[in-house]
């Protein structure tokens, strides 16, 4: 509990000093956030949503609010994390916007800190309106510390040709916490593709607590990719919440390779009829890594479709937790929803927990979910070996194929290649 008080104390100090110039509405939003975090405290394993994940290393650790990085980074430093150098890009180091490394676009692709004053009405209309904080202490804490992050606004009927890159780097300072807050608003019939990456320049035990809100207007299409390749000693807690309008399309892709302890709450609300959602995810863990994905797809309107695919590859002593809930609200007739979670256990000490859940209050629906946990298929292995492929190579091939199924659904070729190389690299280590 001491740590909760410490965080509240650090909020007080920050709010009265660095953040005191915030507009009144933002100040109120932060105050609600910190009050809620103070009430909720850190979650414990007795709570249903946290029964497989202990946040003790975070709750008992001591994290200082990150300070602006001491060293100025150059393009060479961040190049390994970029897909390409053209296009729009927002780079943050230890949570601070780096204008010299970024290529913003007026007030539409900008740092949140900037637009909070320059596009106040738009930000105020959306910020904090989607990501729940009632029973989410980490999102509440992020809301208390809202200051910077990515802001993307695509006006009605506009199309952003190249994927927009968002890069969040940790410079390697130990025991710091950052609270990146991202807001993406894609208006009516607009199109955008976004790649959000979390990575680290050093192997240190920092804590990232990110929240991203995505608003997809009527008839709009958004391809959103999120790559988490934090340091193996880092703690990564995140919430991604989307809200879709009528006849919109949202493709959400999540890849988690990094962090000692990762928890990602993913929420998607289909609020207008005719919406389509794809939720596509991969977690590839080894060593003593622990990754917990909680997804909630909320069919609040009729005639919507959602497809969810989550694959987990677990090696070493790692543990993968997946909870996927599909809610079909009363009146959301003609809903078509499918969910699968497949887990591959590569070692005897790996451990998978899977909770696919259906909560259905409408009758004219088609909903299915499936979940599997198991080793590599011995028959497939036998087949490859009978073709002259060594056992080790055969295992790698099959494991790669299992992961590649998820990567294959991504439209951005450069990202697919980057992830593909990471997956191959990880499998080669085994």
């Amino acid at each position: 509990m001491a740590h909760v008080e410490q965080l509240v104390g650090s909020y007080r100090a920050w709010a009265s000093n660095g953040a005191s110039r915030a507009p009144a509405w933002l100040h109120d939003l932060r105050e609600v956030g910190i009050a809620r975090f103070h009430d909720l405290g850190f979650p414990n394993m007795k709570q249903e949503a946290w029964r497989f994940t202990s946040v003790a290393p975070i709750a008992e650790g001591s994290f200082e609010l990150a300070k602006p990085p001491a060293r100025i980074l150059r393009l060479e430093d961040i190049r390994p994390f970029l897909l390409f150098e053209a296009g729009y890009r927002l780079v943050f180091v230890d949570g601070f916007f780096q204008p010299l490394l970024s290529t913003p676009f007026f007030d539409d692709i900008q740092s949140l800190a900037h637009v909070v004053t320059h596009r106040q009405d738009l930000v105020r209309q959306h910020l904090g309106k989607y990501a729940a904080t009632q029973d989410r202490p980490f999102s509440a804490l992020n809301t208390a510390f809202v200051s910077d992050g990515a802001f993307i606004h695509v006006p009605a009927k506009a199309t952003v040709a190249e994927p927009i890159q968002l890069l969040f780097l940790a410079s390697g300072d130990k025991q710091v916490v950052t609270h990146p807050r991202n807001l993406v608003v894609v208006e009516r019939e607009a199109r955008a593709s976004i790649v959000e990456t979390y990575a680290s320049l050093a192997a240190s035990g920092y804590w990232t607590n990110a929240v991203t809100e995505i608003v997809v207007g009527d008839g709009a299409r958004v391809d959103y990719h999120r790559v988490q390749r934090e340091s193996d000693r880092a703690y990564h807690v995140a919430a991604t919440q989307s809200h879709q309008g009528r006849d919109s399309t949202l493709n959400l892709h999540f890849v988690a390779f990094g962090a000692a302890l990762a928890r990602h709450d993913i929420g998607a609300v289909l609020s207008g009829p005719g919406g389509t959602l794809i939720l596509n995810g991969l977690y590839l863990l080894a060593g003593a890594q622990h990754a917990d994905h909680h997804t909630t797809i909320d069919h609040a309107a009729d005639h919507c479709e959602s497809h969810e695919y989550f694959n987990g590859v677990l090696d070493g002593k790692s543990r993968g937790v997946f909870t996927g809930r599909i809610i079909v609200r009363p009146g959301a007739q003609k809903t078509d929803s499918k969910q699968t979670n497949n887990n591959l256990l590569l070692s005897t000490d790996a451990h998978a927990d899977s909770q696919p859940q259906l909560e259905i209050y409408a009758d004219d629906v088609k909903c299915t979910h499936g979940s599997t946990v198991g080793p590599l298929d011995p028959r497939a292995l036998f087949y490859l070996r009978s073709r002259g492929i060594g056992e080790h190579e055969a295992r790698r091939l099959l494991t790669y194929g299992f992961a590649a199924e998820i990567l294959g659904r991504m439209d951005v070729a450069s990202l697919r290649l980057q992830l593909d190389a990471i997956v191959r690299g990880r499998l080669a280590e085994q």
């Binding site: 005897t348 259905i360 409408a362 629906v365 299915t368 979910h369 599997t372 198991g374 080793p375």
Partner: protein, 477 residues
Amino acid sequence: MTSIEAHVQQPYKYGFVTDIESEVVPAGLNEDVIRLISGKKGEPAWMLEWRLKAYRNWLKMSEPHWPNVKYGPIDYQAISYYAAPKQRPKLDSLEQVDPKLVQTFEKLGIPIEEQKRLTGVAVDAVFDSVSVATTFQAELAKYGVIFCPISQAIREHADLVQRYVGTVVPHNDNFFAALNSAVFTDGSFVYVPKGVRCPLELSTYFRINASSTGQFERTLIIADEGSYVSYLEGCSAPMRDENQLHAAVVELIALDNAQIKYSTIQNWYPGDEEGRGGIYNFVTKRGKCAGRNSKISWTQVETGSAITWKYPGCILQGDNSIGEFYSVAVTSHRQQADTGTKMIHLGKNTRSTIVSKGISAGRGQNTYRGLVKIMKGAEGARNYSQCDSMLIGDKCGAHTFPYIDVRNSTAIMEHEASTSKIGEDQIFYLRQRGLSSEDAVSMIVNGFCKEVFKELPMEFAVEATRLLGISLEGSVG
């Protein structure tokens, strides 16, 4: 009024009350009540001690509220924990059983006079807190099979009871199991000796009659090495505006190469259309495949009760043991069911199969909640789960909450679930072939449940099909 509506109005068939003089202990729960129950059953001191231990634990526990069901608070001091029809002190033969009781069970279709009974089924009839008659005890004894009320077993087979009671469901397992352990009154005890295949189907029929009481039975079935037994359980209760509590515990133990088949047709009073009255059915059922190559199979058809809260499970401890769970749960009107199973794989090459069919109609809420846990030592474990839900009407709900926890990389676990509406095209097809819409629905629903019904013993399968028809009639039209 259409024939469909007429069927909806059809009252719960077993809702009558038997007017019989009963001895009811005043409402309330304290150590004296437990001593009184124990005394009335003539129990040895160890049993009383066990009950008191459970009671003291219960006092420290709180009622669970995680199930996906809603109900008002239960006043545990307003319930009477013992109700028994007054009768002569000693029963040697059926002639001495109160004819009113015999009539009651006859009306329920459970004849306890042996000459009228169904061939091949031995029945233990439990009325409120006591067992009134157990048929075929003598014939079963020829094979060494013990089939008697548990209170009799505690007196006459104390060694067996003492050795096994509470080994599968400990007295502090959960809130309702602790309550049951403290106040349980009757239930059945079965012991099948080594290598014996029980020649008859064993069956217990539970009847709640008295008002303001709860029924807390406890069943213990032990299948010794290489034996086989099939056990059936049925139940019903009168129609009342009050909610009555039924908190039972069932423990099954299968030793090496033994098999237990446990079937339930649960038809407690479900309450009226507005959700008034009905039984709260909060039970703990668990089997332990203690021996190698043992097998426990649960089959349940849940059509009654205002609220059902039960997860018959299997602990697969012995190598190569098998656990099965086949379930049909129907909720209509305002019924709520949160049911499923737990399969805990401990031994090597253990296998489990789960087939669950949920049907929601009216304003019913049906939840499947299950756990498949494969522990580290369970090399080569295998699980297959399938949960299908059918929705009839737009005011009901169907939910699926499986928990899957795998800690062994050689284990294979598959789970599939689906939810769908009863197919309009299927109904249309059957109607154009000349079937009425309710016959069409009944045919489709029975097809949906067929995988489970085929696991039931013959007599029960017929009963289940009929029950399903009654529960759902009028839901579609």
